[in-house]
């Protein structure tokens, strides 16, 4: 009786595992298609040929790498993502420290408003940003788009960091205080090294936020500061159906995102809950 019960349970578990893998395969199919078609020629894709191994080629990657517009956009993306990550982790870690280590009036309200700020629709801001940036001449500059990306990354980083910061033991700071350090020295020399894991997590998510961002880049950049998501979207349109190149370029963009996603397993849920990863 006991034997058959445990056997039944085993069979059910096995069936569920198979079913789960089937769902996973279905779920990953569009990603698989993107990765695969980066290695096929446009003409092969457009003629709707069935797949065979002989089609595999690096031709699309070569063309993407030779595409100066895309390479520039990729470089811009990297620059903007790094700069906005740097700014938001720098500024955000200070603010998160202020919120988690001081008791002051309006502390809760301030913390909440940062979270609410992160959830505002970008569309509500972008028209005003467009007019402002055009007015002071920073539209289509790296500075401008970095600033725009900081608008969602600063609140995001603050909210990601607070739980990490709260968990850091106060004893070290108190000891440093006894040794005569001021608040600023404590923050930089004692606190930040202790909170380093949190900083890494926040930085990775801030980087992905900026790397994936589309709407601000669409409205606030032009030929100079265009980022890679815009370049990818402009690869298809009208009569240019270079799906192979689009997929190759997408794969280049997806690589760091997927590496981070798999490396950051533990923090993914919190990362998305703190305000999404949407562009």
């Amino acid at each position: 009786m006991i034997l058959t019960l445990s056997r039944r349970k085993k069979i059910i578990t096995a069936a569920i595992a198979v079913f789960a893998f089937a769902i996973l395969a279905l779920e990953l199919y569009p990603i698989f298609i993107t990765l695969l078609n980066g290695f096929r020629r446009d003409i092969v894709i457009l003629s709707g040929q069935d797949f065979n191994l002989k089609q595999l080629t690096l031709r699309s990657y070569e063309m993407v790498m030779a595409n100066k517009g895309f390479i520039k956009a990729l470089f811009n993306s990297m620059l903007v993502a790094l700069l906005s990550t740097g700014v938001s982790v720098g500024v955000g870690s200070m603010a998160a420290y202020g919120i988690s280590r001081f008791r002051f009036r309006g502390r809760n309200a301030l913390a909440y408003s940062f979270l609410v700020f992160r959830m505002l629709p970008q569309m509500s801001l972008v028209v005003a940003l467009y007019l402002m940036f055009r007015g002071i001449g920073i539209r289509d500059t790296i500075f401008g788009i970095t600033l725009a990306h900081s608008s969602f990354n600063v609140p995001y980083v603050i909210w990601m960091l607070i739980p990490f910061f709260v968990a850091v033991d106060k004893a070290y700071e108190e000891a440093a205080m006894v040794d005569g350090c001021n608040r600023w020295m404590i923050f930089r020399l004692v606190f930040l090294p202790l909170a380093a894991p949190g900083l890494v997590v926040a930085a990775v998510f801030a980087f992905i936020n900026s790397w994936n961002e589309f709407l601000y880049a669409l409205i606030l950049t032009g030929v100079n500061a265009r980022t890679a998501p815009i370049a990818i979207s402009s690869m298809i349109g009208g009569d240019t159906l270079t799906w192979g190149q689009m997929c190759a370029a997408s794969t280049v963009m997806l690589t760091p995102v997927f590496i981070f996603t798999l490396a950051m397993q533990k923090f993914l849920i919190r990362g998305v809950s703190a305000g999404g990863v949407k562009g």
């Binding site: 779920e27 990603i31 709707g48 949407k278």
Partner: protein, 315 residues
């Protein structure tokens, strides 16, 4: 050794903290973030509101601006395009999100047990969530193409006629919803899975021994205990769905016609297609208010600072 030192220093440390202004001013730490937030969040919102009170054409020289008070708002509410986009947006929310919740809950219940490869599946399941929105939109656009798109190949292979998905109003709308479900249901799944893991197994086992069947356990134990998590997922998804833009923009640009001009897409179209910045700002403010209501509900209900502080680092 370490603990004894800590004990020795702690009292005098606290005194020193207080003497050095431990309860002192957080302003220097908060100021840089507040400045940035003011410059690129608060000021644009205020500016949006000001612009929404003007008839403000988008042109390089500035154009003729005239104060119209709340005129843009009344124009907006008389604009059939606005109501169309509101309807499409609501439809999107009411179709996509319940399906995502049902799929997510079903998968979470099913996979709420240990088996080989379970961790790998959960890890890989989240890849679509982090897929670049623009690439997700492009990939779906690609799969939906006639002649060479994967989805149409599938239809032809099982003997059905091809569909020109993105050229017909109904199927294009279905396509943007499918895209969103594909992308976001794993996120709902992961949230609910984490919530389920928090329900003590003894509770469920006890109910099973007492003879409660699955549906009884689901409705009497699991769903009530999971309710806060479900609510969080629902609110997060609504807030997210309210601002969806890039995926739909690269898939259809809001077309064919106005068939997929969701709220953000219509705002974009008024501003940069019709060149009416004032009117689009009125719409932006409208969207902003709705989003803030949902965001505040979410934050107050499920994301208190105290909760975060209790939870500490780690997860």
């Amino acid at each position: 050794m370490k603990s004894s030192r800590r004990q020795a220093t702690k009292p005098s440390g606290v005194v020193a903290l207080q003497r050095a202004g431990g309860r002192g001013s957080p302003v220097p730490f908060l100021l840089p973030a507040l400045l940035i937030v003011f410059a690129v969040l608060i000021f644009p919102i205020l500016f949006s509101f000001v612009v929404s009170l003007f008839d403000w054409p988008l042109s390089a020289g500035g154009g003729e601006r005239s104060f119209v008070g709340l005129g843009n708002y009344s124009e907006l509410f008389r604009d059939p395009g606005f109501w169309n986009s509101l309807l499409l947006q609501l439809g999107f929310i009411f179709i996509a999100i319940p399906l995502e919740l049902v799929l997510g809950l079903g998968a979470a219940l099913l996979l709420n047990r240990e088996f080989r490869g379970g961790r790998v599946i959960r890890a890989l399941m989240l890849l679509p969530v982090f897929f670049l929105p623009v690439v997700s939109g492009m990939t779906w656009r690609f799969m939906l193409q006639p002649r060479y798109g994967a989805l149409n190949n599938l239809l032809v292979n099982i003997g059905l006629p091809e569909i020109t998905w993105l050229a017909n109003a109904g199927t294009a709308y279905a396509a943007i919803i499918m895209q969103d479900i594909w992308r976001m249901w794993p996120f709902v799944f992961m949230l609910l899975y984490a919530g389920l893991a928090g329900i003590p197994t003894e509770l469920l086992e006890a109910a099973e021994i007492d003879g409660a069947n699955f549906s009884k356990r689901l409705f009497k134990i699991i769903l009530p205990l999971l309710y806060p998590t479900i609510l969080t997922a629902l609110l997060l998804r609504i807030i997210d769905a309210l601002r969806i833009f890039s995926e739909v923009y690269v898939m259809t640009e809001g077309g064919p016609g106005m068939a997929t001009t969701l709220f953000s897409l219509y705002t974009h179209r008024i501003a940069f297609g019709h060149m009416k910045v004032g009117l689009s700002s009125a719409m932006a403010i409208f969207l902003l208010i709705i989003s803030i209501v949902f965001a505040i509900t979410l934050v107050r209900k499920n994301m208190s600072l105290e909760q975060l502080e209790e939870r500490g680092g780690g997860q």
